[in-house]
């Protein structure tokens, strides 16, 4: 099953490689991994999307907790949470396709952020599933380039991850 794991880690050189190294050394899957500083400059926040059986996910959280640079770990999938990912996608948009492409972007609440006479670059935010659905919905061959950030996650309501 897919899980979204959120962690707070010390904002130290090498902390990222400890996490990434753990996943590769122990053969865990990483679907995506994002990391950036937080409002507290000494902490980074990381979101990892991974898949595995319950046993594997339990080991992943335990192993992450064991890393000395990791301050807190939470498996967001265990409760209500919000997941967002940003995608930039460059699509073919020439002639009669141009109008249709704009319509598709609107349906998915995407924004066209760059334009040439042959292409659009669309910015789209949502769950991974929604971004997948957008790509699916486009005609074959329409997509020229995609770039995705990987998911960021946060607990719903008053669930808070902080030190």
């Amino acid at each position: 099953m897919k899980h979204i794991i959120s962690l707070l880690l010390e904002n130290e050189a090498g902390a990222l490689s400890r996490v990434a190294g753990l996943f590769s050394a122990r053969g865990y899957n990483i679907e995506s991994l994002t990391v950036a500083a937080t409002e507290d400059a000494t902490l980074s926040r990381m979101t990892i999307v991974t898949t595995g059986s319950d046993d594997v996910i339990e080991q992943i959280t335990k192993q992450l907790n064991k890393l000395v640079d990791v301050v807190k770990v939470v498996d967001l999938s265990e409760g209500e949470h919000i997941e967002r990912e940003l995608m930039l996608v460059k699509v073919r948009a020439a002639g009669k396709d141009r109008e249709e492409m704009k319509r598709m972007a609107d349906i998915f609440r995407g924004r066209i952020i760059d334009v040439t006479d042959k292409t659009y670059t669309i910015e789209l935010t949502g769950t991974g599933q929604k971004l997948d659905a957008f790509i699916e919905a486009l005609e074959e061959g329409a997509v020229l380039e995609t770039v995705r950030t990987g998911a960021s996650g946060i607990g719903r309501g008053e669930r808070i991850l902080r030190v």
């Binding site: 490689s17 080991q59 000395v68």
Partner: protein
Amino acid sequence: MELTGAEITMRCLADEGVEYLFGYPGGAVLHIYDELFKQDRVKHILVRHEQAAVHAADGYARTCQKPGVCLVTSGPGVTNAVTGIATAYMDSIPVVIVSGQVPTHAIGQDAFQEVDTVGITRPCVKHNFLVKDVKDLAATMKKAFYIATSGRPGPVLVDIPKDVTTARCEYVYPDKVELRSYSPVVKGHSGQIKKALGLLLEAKRPMIYTGGGIVLGEASAELTQLVRALGYPCTNTLMGLGGYPATDPQFMGMLGMHGTYEANMAMQHCDVLLAVGARFDDRVIGNPKHFFQEDRKIIHVDVDPSSISKRVKVDVPIVGDVKEVLSEMSRQYAAGGTKPDAAALKAWWTQIELWRARDCLKYDRASPIIKPQMVVQKLYEITKGEAFVTSDVGQHQMWAAQFYKFDKPRRWVNSGGLGTMGFGLPAAMGVYLAHPDSQVVCVTGEASIQMCIQELSTCKQYRMPIKIVNLNNRYMGMVRQWQEFFHGNRYAESYMDALPDFVKLAESYGHVGMRIEKPEDIEPALKEAFARKDQLVFMDFITDQTENVFPMVPGGKGLSEMILV
């Protein structure tokens, strides 16, 4: 007053109470060596290879309650040390490694003797640090010692660039550290302990299985008390030997791949299993699928949550320090009033005694060729079970584990997790320094001993009267055994031609060498060797080439599928 980074490094070690520093100099650590030269609080032991520095520090740590410390230079100094670091890591041994690094401005430039030390060692340390600012040095050293020795112990490396060793700042060694991201759980959950005890007392066929955690956590007294109070059988892993007295009637011997028949059968057939400070290793339970029993309940006590339910699903997990948890369990047992089911326990012991009567460790005692088992048995008798025994990796290691009965913890020193050939001799050096008035023996094989043979020179320099028992079967016996059993007797490269004359070799290093070829000479040779109190004696026992280690659980099989003699 401001001190240089090099001075600070030495001051930290001294203030941490470090007695011995095992090391080898080089460019990046020259300033540290210069400060070492000027002080007399920390004694330096000059090894002949950095791998040995770590093994020696490791052997020191395993036999006293203090961390081992080593100092190596950048580049090849570090890469040589990696095997030692990984060895300590796999067995959870507290070692602090200080390594030199190229100057901060040269990092990343492919500078002379530069390697990414933090990157190379990251997967085999509990934690590591690169100190880029001299102001962080003392605090980092303190953290390194704290992390290495607390919770589940392990090696911690501190990488110090050369310019940091010359930069200056005020020196303050912190009294203690607090890390928001690291706080090992010590006290076990008392509700869980109660639940565990309840299960244990309902058991019809109980079994207690303990490991290295008992040794590391100084809990053998607490374990012994509980096991005796309950009257249950107890087995130890290879790493846990000595955690429960081996001569006690409730002791079942080691379990696992080369464990006793009775321990493995009891492990397989018990209905309640209490596992303490042991990690259900593949060499211990074999294939988890075969180990699984529908009606068996498992209680697992470990300070590291990730050891629990890793390979085997557990019914009652208890995260905590063994000493705390076992004493709490004994307290609750004494207060509770419920006693084990006497009739069931009696029937269980009757079954166990039948298994024990199989006498799984028997061997041909009348053989005209020296049987390796007999050498270990005589060694045990002559040292009255009081020696510190280190070992290498192979058949000799298993025979040492099976035939030397350890009644006390921290007497048996071997590389279980990584299985590092070459560990035994340097580890014995560290053990000797920790216990200079005790007998220190290294039980080894002719292949393993050659992997760190250069340390005979270190032993000479520091007059370490270690006794080396070389079980020389002219084979990489453990490899040969697998080839015999599983590869149709095709002995691919497990035979070494051109072995050295170990007697002359020992002599050329300035030690005493002995070659023993007949069973009747075993005892006199050992006696003579131990009579030479101030000398290292290398005893080369020419043993039966074809002897195998039994019992054996073949890889991938279940515990009850042992090959027996």
